[in-house]
């Protein structure tokens, strides 16, 4: 048996076994936290616990902020982020409609030496109140 054929057989066997053994669905990444991202669930817990030094930063335009924002969030458009002071003891959570703008802000802060910033996983779309509101509107 040639090496490519042997590898094909091995892949087939491992794949077939996966179909049988694969009851373990991949954990949904949006529910979990990692070093730079926090889930909506974690942020909710922090807000309810009134976590010391927590600052939630809304990066969207002021009109969007006025229409809706996460309770306790500050309106800091991304252009104003470079002038905003952050203390090393603070825990910063950045969010916008999606993760992209928050990632840009995270990079901006990291370049300034702010290392305690997190991105809200999934952006505002993952925030429970907004999600349920949008679903009602559909």
């Amino acid at each position: 048996m040639t090496i490519p054929r042997a590898l094909a057989v091995a892949a087939f066997v491992l794949g077939a076994l996966a179909a049988i053994a694969g009851s373990a669905a991949p954990p949904s990444a949006r529910q979990s936290d990692d070093g730079d991202r926090v889930s909506a669930q974690t942020l909710t817990t922090w807000l309810r616990a009134k976590k010391s030094g927590l600052r939630v930063i809304d990066l969207r335009p002021v009109e969007a902020f006025d229409a809706y924002h996460i309770p306790g969030a500050e309106d800091v458009p991304i252009a104003a982020l470079a002038q905003t002071e952050f203390a090393p003891t603070e825990t910063i959570v950045l969010y916008a409609d999606t993760e992209i703008r928050a990632e840009q802000a995270w990079v901006t802060l990291r370049a300034r030496g702010v290392t305690n910033a997190h991105i809200l996983r999934g952006g505002l779309a993952e925030w429970p109140g907004v999600v349920s509101g949008r679903r009602r509107g559909c």
């Binding site: 892949a11 996966a18 179909a19 990444a29 979990s32 999606t98 999934g122 993952e126």
Partner: protein, 179 residues
């Protein structure tokens, strides 16, 4: 030191492997669009299947935690447009971003030209971003995976992808053997 050395080591190994597979050569890569040389398809699909089976079984056996793997978000319309632009550039240059780096590193002029074009495109996109930012984040679907989207168990999707890959390899071999 590890944060610099390890990525550097992985990058060099990746580049070396691409070069050894012949993927630093634009004529070889362009061959896939004429169905003459499907090396790119076979190398990439082999890598996908290897990584997919590795991640599945290492997770299933408790060696890795899948929740620590970041899944890029899906933006349907901008990613479709991005895919078309990427494909057009791939056909024009005969190289994709990774292989253009390999090609340039081995001193090929077309690799250097492709890299110059790539960085020019990145610069132009960055400059144009404020005017296209609404489209950039349009049709957001969050972090989608095939098992989520198809409502099919994870292991079944893994098996289906293996079957698709094996069928693709067989078809590629037949196409390459054509007179």
């Amino acid at each position: 030191m590890t944060t610099i050395a390890l990525p550097l080591l992985i990058g060099v190994a990746f580049g070396w492997t691409l070069e050894r597979a012949g993927l630093g050569s634009a004529p070889k890569l362009a061959g896939q669009f004429y169905l003459r040389d499907l090396t790119v398809f076979k190398v990439m699909f082999s890598a996908i299947v290897t990584a997919m089976l590795g991640v599945f079984w290492l997770s299933r056996l408790g060696a890795i935690d899948l929740s620590s793997i970041a899944i890029p978000e899906t933006y349907v319309a901008p990613q479709l447009v991005g895919g078309l632009v990427f494909g057009a550039g791939f056909i024009l240059a005969g190289l994709c971003p990774g292989t253009s780096c390999v090609s340039a590193a081995t001193g090929r002029g077309d690799g250097l030209a492709t890299m110059a074009g790539m960085f020019g495109g990145v610069l132009l996109t960055g400059l144009a971003l404020p005017s296209v930012s609404s489209f950039y984040s349009a049709t957001a679907r969050g972090t989608m995976t095939l098992p989520d989207a198809l409502h099919v168990p994870y292991g079944v999707v893994v098996f289906a992808m293996v079957l698709i890959a094996l069928a693709g390899f067989g078809a590629a071999e037949r196409l390459e053997r054509r007179p």
